[in-house]
Symmetry: C2
Subunit: 285 residues, 2 copies
């Protein structure tokens, strides 16, 4: 089976490496607009060959678009145009509503399955890819009733081969949940990093004091702006609402601190400690 991967970064590369570990029979055809990434993916044996997009898609049984969501929007319809009749197309975009909307009227819509692996690190590019990224993580499949059953079955069987857990939801619910649980985390982390960088001109101070929890809270501020800026644009309505709630919560917390209302801030923290129990399956430490 030929699998074409467009975008040989963290997600695309980890998908290929993870699948190779399970099954040697796949042939991976890589496509990347950055020739350095394409060469590096060959060197790292992420893919078996590199081809131009047009040649790769017509040769593949499954094409995976693992590029930033702005590139996805531009690419989805032209790639569907090229897609052979028996083939399936998926994308790994972190937004789903707009992506599903732009392909809505395409005659080959049913050959497309909109998915999103809930996995990532703050690193990017082929060197960031590793076989263990996707196994045991959630793969969300959106609006599966708009895809033909053979295509859904194919991708389900591949994700199961990768030992992923499948979850199904409408594209609009996906974007709403992700705004809170993923996109907001990235914004809070970037804003924290920016605030500290502006205040602490002496980098030595940041480095020395970062032991106190700063480095984990700010980890996501190392993430790629190329990936995240278009996500924030495409999911702006949900993210804006999430940010309003977050800013209101911070303001509420600040009022407690300003008023030295220790009982109230204690209560807010005690209630939020609940997150430990909820996350214990993920991060038991």
């Amino acid at each position: 089976m030929n699998i074409c991967i467009v975008g040989l970064g963290l997600l695309g590369g980890s998908f290929a490496l993870g699948l190779k570990q399970q099954d040697q029979s796949y042939n991976f055809i890589g496509v990347d607009s950055n020739p350095n990434h394409a060469n590096r993916a060959l060197e790292l044996e992420i893919v078996n060959e590199i081809l131009p997009l047009e040649q790769a898609v017509v040769k593949a049984d499954l094409t995976v678009l693992a590029v930033p969501v702005n590139a996805l929007i531009a690419m989805l319809n032209p790639v569907l145009d090229l897609l052979p009749e028996q083939a399936t197309l998926i994308d790994f975009g972190s937004t789903k509503e707009l992506i599903c909307r732009v392909v809505e009227k395409h005659p080959k819509r049913a050959q497309f399955v909109a998915v999103h692996p809930i996995a990532g690190t703050e690193n990017s590019g082929p060197d960031a890819a590793f076989a263990g990224l996707l196994p045991q993580k959630i793969m969300i499949i959106c609006d599966q009733e708009k895809s033909r059953p053979e295509s859904v079955k194919l991708v389900e069987s591949i994700f199961r081969q990768l030992d992923m857990r499948l979850s199904y939801m409408p594209a609009d619910s996906h974007d709403l949940h992700l705004a809170y649980v993923s996109h907001l985390s990235h914004i809070s982390s970037f804003a924290l990093g920016a605030t500290v960088l502006e205040k602490e001109k002496d980098e030595e101070n940041i480095f020395n004091m970062a032991g106190s929890g700063f480095s984990s809270t700010v980890r996501l501020a190392k993430s790629s702006p190329d990936m995240w800026a278009p996500i924030f644009t495409q999911n702006s309505r949900n993210i804006s609402a999430a940010l309003d709630s977050y800013i209101r919560k911070l303001q509420e917390f600040k009022n407690m601190i300003d008023n030295q209302d220790e009982a109230a801030s204690y209560e807010l923290m005690k209630k939020t400690n609940e997150i430990r129990r909820i996350l214990s399956g993920i991060d038991p430490k």
Copy 2:
């Protein structure tokens, strides 16, 4: 040498365990107002014996106060009253300005050295303690000119034995820096956890989607309110200013997203990526 540790939690316990690993000759006397913690610390061999505060302090060459900062304020002067003439007192509080102020006029002020180890986890209690917490971390020593040279030398030699890196600063600078690099991280994390818990009534959703960076950003929201509520009160002025800057930055970010100004949000993130280089010594991944 007898070392009395008041508060057998994460920091007090890790200090004893770390030091024991370097040097078997210390005798650790434990004090804890919670008898379960005291017993557990004996079981875990964190301390060699448990005594009431009054008996422990008079027997010790060095007394370490490793309790929440509200308990510290209440305890500092009475413990200094008890302190033998040749002995030294230190505290591990996360705030330093008020702590130094309350002992300012005490006749034994010079026997007290105000320190703060820049290390911690989101866990608390004797079971959270481990020998590796303090080695290679920063120990900040505040207002050391107000302590007698023998006491400063004693604690410096112990911290070096623990392989800690020493840093010196005035108590007010300490509180200002920590507001940004530590206290703000905790508040942003608690506020994020509270926002998501309010929005996502279905815990399954949080658990399933937390892969996307949420768990590291929210890790500090598992921290102990008993420890943090009084820190926020004692450092409220600096924290309030830090929170104002943070909320302004979030609002600025939100405006970019609302206006779909991708170039501006890209630029903000690109600049903040600088944090990767600064933290690379701490968290090279």
